[in-house]
């Protein structure tokens, strides 16, 4: 008996896996090195960066608090409305797509594929791009912002809702079917109680993201506080910009606290 059988060297990964990993690491390092070497950075701009930063903060101080009631409050409320209404609209449009994307509810591979394609295309376009498109269609203003938030959120809500539907247990649904329940009853009493916690979690999470995103939509003219920021920046009124940044920060933190609170209450 030879010892070849026990002398064999043990390795954790197959040669194919090792080669793939090496290719990945090599590709990563290569990408970083090439990017660092070819990216166009103008060094002259860097020499006075600290002065520019100091200048920026000097211009931002003192924060123009007195401007809040006249110029910021309404824009801030509009931002919140855009985020909330956009999210509600998105949920209504995402529910049917989520139902179509879930294989256990729609046992048709083509319909699943179609719904998933719609959801992916909604997600791969950034909300600022959606805002650009809707500004061109509806003109500048809150309507464009609401539609942008809605269309960007459909993919997010629909994907997660569809996945939650696919994870439901078939037991209660079979029981309802056996009792002769019609399709709406099966959905409301069989699927809905199982996905309700996930649904609210998704909706709240998306609302939180929408609040952050709706603050910048105004940069392309889609309403909300971003428009006020853009106007103040174009006029170099940095003390007003500082006020708006503080306002956005406060709202974002408040939204996060609210979401955490509601989540604890209802989930």
């Amino acid at each position: 008996m030879t010892t070849a059988a026990i002398d064999r060297e043990w390795r954790r990964y197959t040669p194919g896996q090792r080669r793939a990993r090496f290719a990945l690491y090599f590709g990563l390092v290569f990408a970083v090195v090439v990017s660092l070497r070819t990216v166009q950075i103008i060094p002259e701009f860097l020499y006075d960066a600290h002065e520019q930063m100091a200048d920026l903060f000097k211009r931002m101080w003192p924060i123009a608090w007195s401007y809040y009631p006249g110029g910021v409050h309404d824009a801030l409320i509009e931002t919140l409305h855009i985020a909330t209404l956009g999210t509600i609209l998105a949920i209504f449009m995402a529910l049917p797509l989520g139902l179509l994307a879930a294989n256990n509810i729609t046992p048709n591979a083509w319909l699943n594929y179609f719904a998933k394609l719609m959801l992916v295309s909604s997600r791969s376009v950034n909300s600022l791009v959606w805002a650009l498109l809707f500004v061109a269609i509806f003109g500048p203003g809150a309507l464009a912002g609401t539609m942008a938030i809605a269309f960007r959120s459909i993919g997010f809500v629909g994907k997660l809702f569809g996945e939650a539907l696919e994870e439901t247990r078939p037991g209660p649904i079979e029981a309802l079917k056996a009792a002769g329940a019609p399709w709406p009853s099966i959905f409301i009493k069989g699927y809905w109680p199982q996905v309700e916690p996930a649904f609210w979690a998704i909706a709240l999470f998306r609302w939180d993201i929408s609040v952050r995103e709706s603050a910048v939509l105004g940069l392309v003219g889609a309403g909300g506080i971003g428009m006020a920021i853009n106007a103040a920046m174009d006029l170099f009124q940095w003390e007003r910009v500082a006020l708006m940044l503080v306002a956005i920060f406060t709202v974002v933190i408040a939204a996060e606290v609210a979401v955490t609170f509601i989540r604890k209450k209802i989930i």
Partner: protein, 266 residues
């Protein structure tokens, strides 16, 4: 007991949930109210649909003139550069920051400033951070890189710190009991437990950076966004469509790569 009495004793199977019904009603009332506040009227919507048809008509066919394609290729290349460098920097910086923000390994006097810093990085949208960096370091890719680095720290460091807070401390204890130095405790007790999740956060953040680096150009921070916004403002909608299609294609390639990496690490 007669069947009738049994039916009375048992509560009905599907009780109406009054608080939930009121919540739905309130939500509906809010929708109506907000719609009226935002001046969203049916007329405007119908008018918009007509505009939309004209808009799409002007987008087609996509503009593929050679000079514009070259401009777009340059913009896309810069976008990828920004995403790659920002992700690399963000990942490198997130490792120590996340570690220092983990409350089960570090004393409170160091976790609190770190957690505050992470919260600050997270609370502003990338485009707003980009505005500040454009002012600080001028127009161009550097501002975009710095803005996305800050955003990456806000995301990766937060999730990394949370992942570390969930680890089992038994292994850390065991390594400590051997008299290992602090760095050894980190690299043999902590990192093996969280590395997998860290890779997951990092790939997700790279994907997110790629999407957002197409946007920071709108405020002058480099990448394809500047070209795209210029095309939009010049009503050059057919070129806009070309750029949009290119961005979507780029993101789909990136998602395919991400899936491949995920499979590699399963």
């Amino acid at each position: 007991m007669s069947p009738n009495q049994i039916a009375q004793a048992r509560p009905p199977a599907f009780l109406p949930n009054w608080p939930a019904r009121f919540a739905w009603l309130a939500l509906a009332a809010y929708t109506v109210y907000a719609t009226s506040i935002l001046n969203v009227t049916w007329d405007r919507f119908v008018l918009g649909l007509g505009n939309g048809v004209r808009f799409i008509g002007r987008m087609l066919p996509p503009d593929t003139a050679a000079d514009k394609m070259a401009l777009m290729a340059r913009g896309l290349y810069e976008t990828v550069e920004i995403a790659v460098i920002a992700s690399a920097l963000g990942i490198l910086l997130s490792l120590p920051i996340g570690l220092f923000a983990a409350r089960n390994l570090m004393p409170p006097w160091i976790t609190w400033p770190m957690r505050l810093f992470i919260a600050l990085c997270r609370s502003f949208h990338q485009v707003i951070i980009a505005i500040l960096f454009v002012k600080a370091v001028g127009f161009g890719a550097l501002a975009g890189i710095l803005a996305l680095t800050v955003a990456s720290i806000g995301f990766i460091a937060k999730l990394f710190a949370e992942a570390i807070e969930e680890i089992s401390l038994k292994q850390v204890e065991a390594i400590r009991a051997t008299g290992a130095s602090f760095m050894n405790v980190i690299s043999y007790g902590v990192m093996p437990q969280v590395l997998n999740r860290f890779v997951g956060f990092a790939t997700y953040q790279f994907d997110s950076n790629l999407r957002n680096s197409t946007m920071v150009g709108i405020v002058g921070a480099g990448g394809i966004g500047g070209t795209m916004f210029a095309a939009f403002q010049k009503f050059d909608y057919d070129y806009l469509l070309t750029i949009l299609l290119a961005i979507i294609a780029m993101i789909m390639v990136s998602e395919a790569l991400q899936n491949w990496i995920k499979k590699l690490y399963q």
